[in-house]
Amino acid sequence: MTAQPLLDVHDLTVEFTTRRGIVKAVQHVNISVAKGETLGIVGESGSGKSVTSYAVMRILDRAGRIADGSVMFSGIDVKAASENEMRDLRGREISMIFQNPRAALNPIRKVGDQIEDVLRQHVQSAASDRGEKAIEALEQVKIARPRERYHAYPFELSGGMCQRVVIALALACNPQLLIADEPTTGLDVTTQKAVMDLIVELTKRRHMSTILITHDLGLAAAYCDRVVVMEKGRVVETAKSANIFARPEHAYTKKLMRATPRLGVSLRDLLPEEEVLASPRTPAVMAGLDPAIHHSSEGSSKAMDPRVKPAGDETKSPLLLVEKLVKEYPRQGAGAVLSKLFSRKPPVEAEVFRAVDGISFTVGHGESVGLVGESGCGKSTTSMMVMRLLDQTSGRIAFDGEEIGAILPQAFARLPLRKSIQMVFQDPTDSLNPRFTAARAIADPLLQLGDVKGRDALRARCEKLAGLVGLPVDLLDRFPHQLSGGQKARVGIARAIALHPKLVILDEPTAALDVSVQAVVLNLLQDLKASMGMSYLFVSHDLNVVRLLCDRVIVMRAGRIVEQGPSERVLGDPQDAYTKELLTAIPHPPLPVH
């Protein structure tokens, strides 16, 4: 570092006062950002990467304080600055893009007005041309028809659009430093690419410095000059992004890199080395499973032989057959409501929106099929209908030879078939009842549909299931909020497999997890499938993960299937333009040198 850095964080320690005493969220962190540089801060949840950036902006919670160290921003001591000075600094000199763009925008105000607010706050322009400036800002973030969008409310815009507006807000006053805190988490890959390209383009053009906070090594590698890796509140490695991928030095960096799904690796490769070596995992799972199978096969008359050949039992009919499935929703624009109120005429025919538009596919016994697409493509709606949580408009769904499409969702809950189709939900936190302990959550399906009688037997089953999914038994009495994300995911999986289902729908089961946890959970799912002979329908937008876990892939777009086939073929040699677009949008980290 030759010149004076724009931002210099020296020996920063941030403490939080909690009920259990003082917690040091960030310890002795040194970070510097030069003018015009893009710095990536990479780490898993709880690594202190966000807290560091909050300390720089001095927007820590009331419980938190900068205990030690200094933060210098272009000659200003942030730690000593008055609240007035800071308010001036924020927005004008340092601005921030938050993770959830929708939450960052005021839902009941027009986006144009919100941009004008920032301009007004920092006296950047005269009142007369403020509107023009706001439109210009929207133009710069490449929002089509900015003059119309100026009058749009956040809910009228898509997630990617909202994030563009947030970027426009952040850049409205030409700050010197932009802090982007997971700016693309929750956005589709193609949108992610567009948003990241936009951020880099705009900041480079203005010679701004950027701090990109992310959990995605690939993203950091693709867009940053330098990368800082954080673990448990400490910086473990700082290097040029090209170097860090070629020669990771710290063990944690290596572990993170290993765990990131990428081309040319298998699921096992994601696990840390020591775990792969000392992993007689599958036998252990099998041993733990046997009694569990005995229990559940008593209940159902059909043979649920775990030793059923996984994958390809071509003679039999497929486990799940979906044919010409359609789901329509009435389109509820303001116009439709008005016409309903004021005119007696029946609404025009085309007032429906086809979320799922006549799709057909099969899932074989023991097969795992990936259902891929961007948000709004109808993949979740499809899984809900297969799950019988939602009624379809038309089309048929056959499961194991039985027509389940005709059964109403309300009636399906009490049928024995319910046992055979289970689901692992996307958000492990949301899908666990906050008032139920882990044991109670796992026991719920057993109580309702299982044949386990008595408290002790139930407890024994729960402990067995916990063992299967690798959840320590002493955690069973905790409530969801006392568990980490990975542990909650395991509870969700244990609940789904408790009844020994034939088909499990996995709705982005790892989307909310850190990469290292994701690696473990994916391996766990793979092991369970192999040992229990289940079929998976894996709903995801993450093609790298799908590639690893699935035999076959279905690519959906706007309610239709654009391409399906074996994973290798579809993802290795895509035929459809849309599949190609999806694949190129994934940020690829360079392969580690072995």
């Binding site: 009920r19 949580l389 809950a413 939900f425 666990l432 006392q482 568990l483 980490s484």
Partner: protein, 299 residues
């Protein structure tokens, strides 16, 4: 305590035993929040008076002694005596049981009616929602106290009817809160998961959604408890409700009110004070109770 990063692992041992952990948690909440601790202190006193009142008071609350009528507070009669020479201290203490009973019973009743109707409205939506909503709107259209008066006047002048009237008057409050809370959760992931586990809709409502709404309902119950006491006392004050010579704060204030002009202030003051303290206590209690009941708050 430990210096790990906040989200790494939930710190602390798993709950060693349910009861001691709960006790520990209550102590923490009370220690953190002095106002709640004070309110709890008041509650303990009120409960003590309600349970043991009749056995510890120095005089029979109904025994009149005309020789000692209208005596101001003294060492023998701490709160003085009323126009029939009855000891006001004894009467105030003994009345706690009746007033607390009316409040608790009416709140329990309204929780069963309004709370459950509201949860069902929020969860099922559609016609259930419309019907419950219109009932609540209809009740809200009346001035609440006048409505309570009307109900008691129509049904008859008994404790039971006071309880029913107070419950009906509070119905909209409960139905609305419960409806809003249930509505937010009706499509939550854990509700879907419960469906997959084979739970029927009623079961989901009672076993999955209701427990999640309890913290907020308990706050609501604590707040309306104070209102219920006031309402019962108010009804008694205007002559509907509990009849003399029963010891009840509302009647005692009503009886004492006529003597205020002639200077015997103590007859109305002390029962009024008791009434105020009870209402104050329940109103303070609300937030503290939520902290204790909600498991999310214990980390």
């Amino acid at each position: 305590m430990s210096s790990v990063a906040p989200a790494a692992e939930p710190v602390g041992p798993a709950r060693t035993s349910g009861l001691s952990a709960t006790f520990e948690h209550v102590r923490y909440v009370l220690g953190e929040n002095r106002v709640t601790a004070f309110a709890f202190g008041l509650l303990v006193i009120i409960l003590f008076a309600a349970i043991f009142g009749p056995y510890i008071v120095p005089y029979d609350p109904l025994a009149s002694d005309t020789a000692a009528a209208l005596k101001p507070p003294s060492a023998a009669h701490w709160f003085g005596t009323d126009q029939l020479g009855r000891d006001i201290f004894s009467r105030v203490i003994v009345a706690t049981r009746l007033d607390a009973f009316i409040a608790v019973a009416s709140v329990a009743l309204v929780f069963l009616m309004g709370g459950l109707a509201g949860i069902a409205a929020g969860y099922f939506g559609g016609w259930t929602d419309r019907i419950v909503g219109r009932i609540a709107d209809t009740i809200m259209a009346f001035p609440l106290f006048v409505l309570a008066m009307g109900i008691v006047a129509a049904l008859g002048n008994t404790v039971q009817n006071i309880i029913i009237a107070t419950a009906i008057v509070n119905f909209p409050l409960y139905a609305r809160v419960a409806r809003a809370e249930a509505n937010v959760r009706r499509n939550a992931g854990f509700v879907q998961a419960a469906r997959l586990s084979g739970n029927g809709e009623m079961r989901i409502l009672l076993m999955h959604i209701l427990p999640n709404i309890m913290p907020i309902m308990i706050v609501q119950m604590s707040l309306t408890m104070g209102y219920a006491i006031l309402n019962a006392a108010g009804l008694s004050f205007i002559g509907l409700g509990v009849r003399p010579p029963t010891a009840e704060w509302g009647i005692m204030v009503a009886e004492g009110a006529t003597f205020m002009v002639s200077g015997e202030w103590w007859i109305a003051l002390f029962p009024g004070l008791a009434l105020m303290i009870a209402v104050f206590c329940f109103n303070l209690l609300g937030d503290g109770l939520r902290d204790i009941v909600d498991p999310q708050r214990r980390t």
